[in-house]
Structure formats: structure tokens, C-alpha cells
Symmetry: C2
Subunit: 144 residues, 2 copies
DNA sequence: GTCAATCTCTAGTAAATTGATAGAGAATCC
DNA sequence: GGATTCTCTATCAATTTACTAGAGATTGAC
């Protein structure tokens, strides 16, 4: 009932890439620094996200990572499930037969749906938009 | 984003106790057998649930465990949080200051609310009720 | 073509967590 | 007093988590 640190790092890294609208690659070192993520650990995570088709990369000077798809087509759920695995193990969702039934598969399905209604409906475009709005509000308050 | 086996055992054990409307204690061995839970492991879990005020117990012959409160006043969330800890670590829910803000505390709060809308609103009385209804339906289908 | 920068891949690893087990001790009832 | 059952502390193997090390492969600049 919790997200791993790795999953959180993955979300922060993708968010960092989604914030830049340009397609030019951002270096691992830069993401690591800005999001305070151990660099070597982040390398593994980014590589895994690339293998999942979420990110693209380029090597060499001016290399780095970038979104492989538009930010509004990548959801928080996509990233979390790719990094941390399924939110609920399949066997918990299966209805038992008459002999061995229990109320729990139905419960886990409800939990799954509730969770999904948030994580699968929040794209990184949404996150960036909300973040910019909040940011604007705070700056205004500061000015008063 | 998952529940431990221990948490699942705890739910099954409390459900087992909630199914009996009588207040007479049920032995650990019986619960372990009926719910297929390793007995020694279950002992720890039941003891922890007793310390949390959810269960009561009696020793000796005719001893066992029983609900300390009515089944409609114990929720799935109560048990899960007592056994597995908070569903989202507090630090993830905290809003950062202007200098270091991010869209994630808001996200985690939404996740938390979505989860809560299921687990904190499902009591063991609900589970027993639904289970009995389902059971009745299945038996009817068998008879046809 | 070589050099520097950067991603990529395979290992390894210390610490924590998970899912248990063992066994002595304490209460309850006959 | 003895049988039964819960209670408490300790221990443990396996797995997972969070992270590090280092050699290798690309890329672009010169």
C-alpha cells in the first residue's frame, strides 16, 4: 500500500523531462542534481523507462534523455506500474469458486478501481499544468 | 502500492471472527486452519490486533479470540493501517515551500483519498453482508 | 580518427523487510 | 495439579530495496 522510492524517483524524473517543452535531451547528471536523486541509481531507472518506451535517449556530448511520447499520453500509473509492478497482485483479484470464496477479491477490485481513477487519469501534462498554476498563485501571494 | 501477506492474513482473520455473530472465542488453531494461515505467524498477528484494541482474547480451554468491538465499527482500513502502517508516508503528503515545491504531494493526497474512500468505508459488517448475499446467489444458481 | 562526454549494461552489496519458526511463560478451567 | 490455550521474546532464511562500481558502446567535435 505504498510506493517505492524508486517509483517516486521515476515520477520525478519524468516530470522533470515533461517540464521542458523542448525536445532537446537533458543529461542524467542534471536530472539527478535538480531532483536530488543518486545519479547511478537514476541511470538504472531512466534506462528502464527507456526500455518501457516512455523515454528516448542520445549519447555523447549534448546527449541525454527526453520524452518519447507527448506528456499528455504518459500517466502516473504507466510509470508506477512499469517500475514497481502491478498495484495489486493478480491472484488477489481472482474470484474463488463456490467452495472457497471470500469477500476480498471484490474488495481488491474496488481498491484497484479507486487507485486507477487517480493514477491512470493523471498525465504528466496534467501535473505540469497544475504545478505551473500553483506556482503562479504562490508568486502572486508573495507579491502582496 | 501493495498489501503485505501479513495484512491480508489479518483481514481474513478478522473476517473469520466477524462471521460468527456469537461472542464465544474462536481458537487460533481453528482460524489458522479455516483460513490457511501458518499458525505461529497468525499468533503474532492476532496478538497485535488485540493490542490495537480490535480483538479480545481468553486463555485456557474454551479460550480464543473474539471481536472487541461490533463488526460495523471496524473497517478494512483500520486493520490494514494497524498492521502495515500508513498507506502513504507522511513526508510524501507534505506540501513543500515555494523554493522546493512539486506537484506530487497533491497527487499523493488524491491517491490517499481515493484509497480511503474504499478501505475506510468498508466495515467487516459490510464484508460479511456482501459475502452472504453472494453466497446465496451462487447456491441458487447451483440449484437451477 | 581520436578524444571527451555521455549513455548502457552487468555485477555486486549492505541494510531492511518479509514471512515465517521455536520455545519458555502465564492464564484459565476442570 | 494438569491440560489447554494464549503471550512474549528471540531468531532466522530469503527476498527486496536502495544504491555503488566499473567496463563498454555511441555520439559529436576537432
Amino acid at each position: 500500500m505504498d510506493v517505492s522510492v524508486k517509483g517516486e524517483y521515476a515520477l520525478r524524473a519524468v516530470f522533470e523531462l515533461a517540464c521542458r517543452d523542448s525536445d532537446e535531451p537533458i543529461k542524467i547528471a542534471k536530472i539527478a542534481e535538480r531532483q536530488r536523486i543518486p545519479q547511478k541509481f537514476l541511470e538504472l531507472i531512466l534506462s528502464q523507462l527507456r526500455q518501457g518506451g516512455f523515454l528516448g535517449s542520445r549519447r555523447g556530448t549534448d546527449g541525454g534523455y527526453f520524452l518519447a511520447r507527448p506528456a499528455d499520453s504518459i500517466t502516473v500509473g504507466d510509470i508506477l506500474r512499469h517500475i514497481d509492478g502491478p498495484t495489486t497482485p493478480a491472484r488477489r483479484l481472482e474470484q474463488g469458486d463456490v467452495a472457497n470464496d471470500s469477500p476480498f477479491p471484490e474488495l481488491w477490485q474496488k481498491v484497484e478501481r479507486a487507485l486507477s481513477s487517480v493514477i491512470d487519469r493523471t498525465s504528466f501534462a496534467d501535473l505540469v499544468m497544475r504545478w505551473k498554476e500553483n506556482r503562479a498563485r504562490k508568486v502572486v501571494n508573495w507579491d502582496i
